[in-house]
């Protein structure tokens, strides 16, 4: 018997929470074949599952590795559903994200990116070991309102301050909010270098981004 829309949405969410990448892909196909709208599949299925995973992360039941695997399942489903979305309506808030030059530890950055995308941000991921000027150039070219930087190394922290200075030099500082995070980073350090905010983890990063950009 064909499954109802609700059943399939619940299954999509479950695949994400249970980190079942292949099953998420299959369920997304089954959902489309049953004639249900892709948008609902994403928002009430995959994203709902990712939100549950975020909650489990916040409750310390899931950890970084779990959330990364949940996101693999979410993206596998998204790859199936996304081509079937209608033309986009309201533009999403854009953010540029990356690990600062000199550092290659990108687990935390990837997690923040996933959570931000789940929360509806359009994240431009510059990857790891990102030349500092590239944050500024990309923010300008893409009209981004947010720059998110991370580092796990004490030796590369200074790059974050450089990016802030570069934004000032290019008269972009008022247009772009700067968020930072990573192992050795603290609120004190954020205050010291004039960043707009620091967050300790990916869930907090979403809350901070929303606060900085006055999103309800």
């Amino acid at each position: 018997m064909a499954k109802s829309k609700e059943e399939l949405l619940a299954k999509l969410a479950e695949c994400v929470v249970e980190m079942e990448e292949e099953e998420a892909e299959e369920t997304a196909r089954e959902y489309l074949e049953a004639g249900y709208p892709a948008f609902d599949g994403i928002m009430h299925g995959l994203v709902e599952g990712m939100n549950k995973a975020s909650q489990l992360y916040e409750d310390e039941e899931y950890f970084v590795t779990d959330v990364l695997l949940c996101s693999d399942a979410m993206y596998a489903g998204l790859d199936v559903l996304r081509p079937h979305l209608p033309e986009e309506g309201e533009a999403k808030k854009k953010g540029v994200i990356g690990v600062v030059e000199g550092d290659t530890h990108d687990i935390g950055k990837n997690l923040v990116k996933i959570m931000m995308e789940t929360a509806g941000f359009d994240m431009i991921d510059l990857g790891r070991d990102v030349p500092l000027q590239k944050f500024v150039d990309t923010a300008r070219e893409q009209n981004a309102e947010l720059i998110c930087m991370s580092t796990l190394m004490t030796t590369t922290m200074g790059g974050m301050e450089t990016v802030i200075h570069l934004l000032e030099e290019e008269q972009l500082r008022d247009k772009v909010k700067v968020m930072i995070g990573g192992g050795p980073i603290s609120q004190k350090y954020a205050d010291k270098i004039g960043a707009d905010g620091y967050s300790q983890n990916a869930v907090e990063a979403v809350k901070l981004a929303k606060r900085l950009l006055s999103i309800a």
Binding site: V64, T104, D129, L152, T154, T155, G183
Partner: protein, 289 residues
């Protein structure tokens, strides 16, 4: 099983390579990271800049991975070498990587610097990386985490393949005179893996690995653990701490040098926290159970 606590890395410690350290040395970068003579000067400059009681080597966590075939961005005078691009996409590919040849390349130069610095009367702390840190250069971390969940036995093989190379590196370093070897794998800390997976890594790898390392190295070389590793051992009931008296209150680095030959394993503080002082004149030995 108890709870694995996390040790938070801070930035109130040795900042490593920076233009403050490299300025005035007349070195060419990144060339300076690759040759015995320049690495030796750099290591001494870093010691002086930090006011440390020992020389650190190398200046990055890419030496082992490079020797296994990893692709490295050698950096410049401000930032040291780091990973460039991944060379593997699966645990199976990792298992096919060649063994390390310690007689050539940057890893050989590092060994030569150990020898040279020791001959100049310096204490040398050779920083050796654990599997997660090495893997960070070779493969995207998500393949590692996925492997640990879906193919745990295969990942155990990967850990041991790397572990055996690390053991050989430690032994080589000892032969070249390193009197202190630090072992750290912060990319595999409980803050990233979570308590369950972190515990599994201790069970599957770290505990046995350190026992083997101790047996191989004997008393003449002190093994220093990153506190993240110490806490993982304590939290899984695989080790206990025991106080060892020093000749008086002193900085952690000096205390480590003082207990070489008397103690097997220490790890209460990050060795990069160079001015951390043991006010009570006691150092904690990590005793594997």
């Amino acid at each position: 099983m108890g709870e694995i606590k996390d040790f938070e890395c801070t930035y109130d410690n040795s900042a490593g390579i920076s233009s403050e350290v490299t300025g005035g040395l007349g070195l060419e970068f990144p060339d300076a990271y690759m040759h015995q003579e320049t690495m030796s000067r750099l290591s001494k400059a870093l010691k002086e800049h930090d006011g440390a009681s020992f020389c650190e080597l190398p200046f990055c966590h890419t030496v082992e991975a490079e020797a296994l075939g990893g692709i490295i961005n050698y950096g410049n005078d401000k930032t040291g070498p780091r990973a460039k691009e991944y060379i593997c996409n699966s645990p199976e590919e990792l298992l096919k990587l060649p063994e390390i040849d310690f007689s050539q390349g940057r890893i050989h130069e590092v060994l030569l610097v150990c020898k040279a610095l020791r001959e100049q009367g310096e204490h040398v702390v050779l920083q050796v990386s654990g599997p997660f840190t090495i893997l960070n250069v070779l493969i995207d971390a998500r393949y590692v985490f996925k492997g640990m969940r879906k193919k745990p036995e295969l990942m155990k093989e990967v850990f041991w393949k790397l572990g055996n190379e690390i053991l050989k590196f430690m032994k080589e370093a000892q032969d070249y005179g390193a009197d202190m070897i630090s072992y750290a794998d912060s990319s595999g800390g409980v803050n990233i893996l979570g308590p369950k997976m972190a515990g599994q890594v201790v069970e599957d790898f770290t505990y046995e690995f350190l026992k083997k390392a101790r047996a191989e190295l004997g008393k003449e070389t002190l093994l220093l653990l990153c506190p993240k590793t110490t806490f993982a051992l304590l939290g899984t009931g695989k080790a206990v701490l025991s106080d060892v008296s020093l000749t008086g209150p002193m900085e952690y680095g000096k205390a480590c040098a003082e207990v070489i030959g008397k103690v097997d394993l220490v790890g209460q503080m990050c060795i990069k926290n160079v001015h951390y002082t043991l006010e009570n004149g006691k150092i904690k030995e990590v005793k594997l159970l």
